[in-house]
Every structure is written in C-alpha cells, then in structure tokens.
C-alpha cells in the first residue's frame, strides 16, 4: 500500500490542482469583468457612459452585481421540477468551466528544475473534447427551460437546443478542414505548428473556415444575433425566466465563460494561440529566459482573447437578432454547404501539394 502511494506522482497532482484552481478563478474573474465590459461597450457604442458609480470608472460594479445576486431571494416555482431546476444552472456552469481544460495557456515554465506545462491536460483529442463538452452545454439550457414549467421557458429551451445542435454541425465541418491541414487534434500541437518559424497563422490558410467557425461560435454561445433562446422581446427572458438569485447568476456567468472560452479556442485554432506575433518565440526565449517568455506568451494569448471578446460585444450591439426561420436557413442551407465546400477545397489543395 505504501509503495503504491509513493509510486503515485503527488507533485503532478499538486501542480495540476494549482493550475486548475488558477484557471478556474481566472475564468471567473474574466467572466465577471465581461459583464462590466459588456455594459461599458454597449454604453460607448450608444453614446452613453455606462456603469461609473461603483469604484473608479465603475470597476467594482461586477462585485456589486454579484453581491446583489447572492443577496436576492431565491424562488423555486411550486410547479417546477425541483431537482432538475437546480441541476440546470449547475450543469451550464460545469460545462462552461470544463472546456478550459485542454486549452494551452502558454508554453511551459521551469521552477526548481521541473518543467510545468501551462495546460491542464494535453489530450491528443483536445478538439473533440471541447466539442463534447460544449454540446453538453445544451443540457443546461434544455433542463432549465423544461424544469421551469413555463411555456416561454420551454419554447426558448427548444429553440436554444435546436440552434446549438444545428450550428454544431457546421462548426464541426469547418474544423475538419483545419484538422486536415494540421493533422493533429491536440491543441498544443496546433499552436506549435503555427509557432514554428516561417509558419503563418491558420487563419491565412482557412479564412472561410474561420468565418464559419466564428458565426457558429456566436450561435453556440447564444449571443446576439443568435440569442433566440433568451430573446427578451419575444420570450421575456427565455429559458432562465423563472430563475432568480445566484441560479440566474450561474446562467449569465456560464454564458460569459462560454464567450471567454470560445474566444480562447478561436485564438488557439486560428490565431496562433499563445504565440507572440511577429516574434520568433524560441529565439526570444533564449534571450530573456523561459519563464519570462511563458508569461509574455500568456499575455499574448490574453490580448488575443480580449480582442475576440470585444468583437463578440461589438457584434452584439450592432447586428439585430435573426428570425427563427432565418436562423435555421442560415445554419442548414448556408453554413453547412459552405463548410462542406471548404472541406472539399482544402482536401483538393492538400492532394495537389502532395502532403
């Protein structure tokens, strides 16, 4: 028994636990400040000022909002299914947090002669893992809407579920074209290929694929113009209409974490991940040391992610919501054929170049 315990790599366990803790708290903090950024971006685009009362520039606003949500009375409708009602937001939050496990946040750091990879798990099917977890996210919406025992909620949940499932197909097809190029499903490998000297970011090889992926990512995150599952003007608040207090907060938070994660995935797949643009990372690393390089690379990824998050918000406050039939037409009749054509075209070019 003792030998068994000693054989186990306890240091790895501690390392990974710390990493998980850091990444989850970072995603929560980023999600918190996304709510702030969303309101601020909305405000400046509408010639308003946005939240500026709590703290300097309103920076404490998310804390105030969080406190408010915690303090609110929690109402579970009498006619709802209690277990599922509680399970819904938990599931939404869980799946949103799980996705971050395979994203490489930076190369690696060296502490006391030990190399620590700044990625929770370098799974060799990283992209499949992300897809699997993201499609679990639809259960959060579906269960929440169903358990509320409210017609509007149910309608919104159905819309949300069908939307996510439809756009997942096009998303998967657009990714296949990318994977044919990279030949690997591991996100770390994909980033390293883009990082290699002389290599361009995947975006330049797959602009159409990126566009499809981007549109589908909007749909997957239930963001405007695809926010049919919470269309305020049609369904009041959609699937989380009956929710209050922190359960509502969980749904809103999950949405923002999803935005953060999909931004990270898009930067990783198409924009070189943690690669510092215009710089040969390996050469820079020899110059300033691996630990500094890793921090710079993490910063570079964060900058890319923040740019994407801003883009999400920018689109939200520009483009109006689709009608349901328009949404389905776009998904099935435009996105999927385009993704298929992109896949075939990519295959053709790969054959032509003899890879």
């Amino acid at each position: 028994m003792h030998e068994l315990l000693l054989q186990f790599d306890w240091l790895l366990l501690i390392e990974k636990s710390v990493l998980i803790l850091i990444i989850i708290s970072v995603s929560l903090v980023i999600a918190m400040y996304e709510t702030y950024a969303e309101r601020k971006v909305a405000a400046v685009m509408q010639d308003r000022r946005g939240p500026n009362r709590a703290g300097p520039f309103g920076l404490l606003q998310p804390l105030a909002d969080g406190l408010k949500l915690f303090m609110k009375e929690e109402i579970i409708p009498a006619s709802s299914n209690r277990l599922l009602f509680i399970l819904g937001p938990g599931l939404a939050m869980l799946t949103a947090m799980m996705t971050s496990a395979v994203i490489p946040w930076s190369s690696h750091i060296e502490i006391g002669g030990k190399t620590i990879h700044l990625q929770i798990a370098d799974v060799n099917i990283g992209i499949l893992y992300i897809f699997g977890v993201v499609s679990m996210g639809v259960y959060g919406v579906m269960i929440g809407g169903w358990a509320s025992n409210n017609k509007f909620s149910l309608m919104a949940a159905l819309r949300g579920a069908s939307q996510i499932i439809s756009y997942e197909l096009a998303m998967g097809l657009s990714i296949i074209a990318l994977l044919m190029m990279t030949g690997s499903l591991s996100l770390k490998t994909i980033v390293e290929q883009q990082q290699a000297p002389g290599a361009l970011y995947n975006f330049f090889y797959q602009p159409l694929g990126f566009l499809i992926f981007l549109v589908c990512a909007f749909a997957e995150c239930n963001r405007t113009p695809f926010d049919l599952s919470e269309a305020d003007s049609e369904l009041n608040m959609g699937f989380h209409q009956e929710y209050s207090s922190m359960k509502l907060g969980f749904y809103l938070f999950a949405e923002y974490i999803n935005v953060f994660i999909s931004s990270a995935v898009m930067s990783t797949l198409y924009f070189g991940g943690y690669d510092i643009p215009f710089v040969n990372d390996a050469a820079l690393g020899q110059h300033i040391g691996q630990n500094w390089l890793a921090s710079l690379e993490a910063l570079s990824l964060i900058v890319k992610v923040v740019a994407f998050i801003f883009f999400f918000m920018w689109v939200r406050w520009t483009v109006p919501r689709f009608r349901y039939d328009q949404l389905m037409n776009l998904g099935w009749k435009v996105m999927i054929p385009l993704a298929l054509a992109n896949m075939l075209g990519t295959g053709f070019f790969i054959l032509l170049r003899g890879h």
Binding site: M45, Q46, R49, W314
Partner: protein, 187 residues
C-alpha cells in the same frame, strides 16, 4: 398617380447582388458605424458631480437671506404668505429682545418660518412680494426625503449660512443669483 409632393423616393426592387446576399458588407458597414460611435463625444452630464449651468432667473429652493453682518432680514410681515398662490408658507412672528440685535435686523422677526416644498409651485411670487429681500429662490433643486413631513422646510433648512462666520458656505448657497429688486441694501 401623380406625385403629391416632390419628396417621393422611388424604391428600387432589384434582386440583390451576390455580395449583398452574403450580408457581410452590410454587417461590416454597420459595425463601422457602431465603432465610430465609440469615439463620439458623450452628451451625458455627469450629474451630480457636474451640473448644467442654470439661467440667472432659475427658480429653485427658497433661501432666507441675511444681510452683510449676518442678521436675518425677515421681519415676518407675512406678505410672502399672502402672495403665495399655493399657500405653502406659514410663519409666526416674535419681538426682538434686547441683546438680539446681532441676530435680527428689525424689531420683529420670524420665530417660525415654514415652506411646504410639496405645495410650492416655485413661481417666485414670494420673492417678488418681499419688501426686505429676505427670501429668494436659489439654484438648488431636487430635494429628496423619506417622509412628507421632511418636505416642510423650517428655518434650519431655509436660512442661508452666516456671511461673517462662514463666508464660503454663504457664497456657495448664494450662487450666481441675480437680485431682482431695487433695494440698494440687498446688493
């Protein structure tokens, strides 16, 4: 049919071109518009840190005035209460006792002076009626309170700070107000 005005704009119903059907140029155009709005000057005035400048004749909350030596001007003649169309003003007069010359300018003063701010219509007739320039309408506004009783302002709320003892508070309370009477003592 003949056009009734020359402002008719004929809508072209041509089928959309390929680029238009992708909607991407349209979305791009829209996004440029929203992006441009980020750098526009915001029309918001950051109230209450900043307030809009008032006109010189703005009629806000009332102030009971003092003279240069800090004595109350009001003699409780009751003309303001008579002039008030909303009957918002009540007062009680008292005689000045020996030794109170520093507090009150005349031999008679208002021991109680109340304005019900919920009744007041801020017409400024009390200011016009006052022969002693004892009351005027300031630039302060938007009072808030938890009870209706709180809106009945007594002398503590209405009286201007002493110009001798607290000149800064006095100047702030006085504001940019223009004295509209011909009383040379008030100027």
């Amino acid at each position: 049919m003949q056009a009734l005005t020359n402002r008719v704009k004929v809508v072209e119903r041509k089928p959309m071109t390929f680029m238009e059907r992708t909607y991407l140029p349209g979305i791009f155009k829209g996004m440029m518009i929203t992006f441009g709005h980020m750098f526009k000057k915001k029309p918001t005035v950051n109230y209450p840190e900043k307030t809009r400048p008032f006109s010189a004749v703005f009629r806000g909350l009332h102030v009971l005035n003092r003279d240069e030596e800090g004595r109350e001007r009001c003699t409780a003649c009751g003309l303001c209460a008579v002039a008030c169309p909303a009957e918002a003003i009540t007062m009680e007069a008292a005689e000045r006792l020996p030794g109170e010359e520093k507090l009150y300018r005349e031999e008679k003063y208002a021991v109680k002076y109340e304005i019900n701010m919920l009744r007041c219509i801020f017409c400024g007739l009390c200011e016009e009626a006052c022969p002693k320039d004892a009351i005027y309408l300031s630039e302060t506004f938007a009072p808030s309170n938890f009870t209706r009783k709180g809106f009945i302002y007594g002398k503590e709320e209405l009286l201007i700070p002493d110009p001798v003892m607290e000149p800064e508070a006095y100047a702030k309370a006085r504001g940019e107000h223009v004295v509209k009477t011909s009383d040379p003592a008030a100027k």
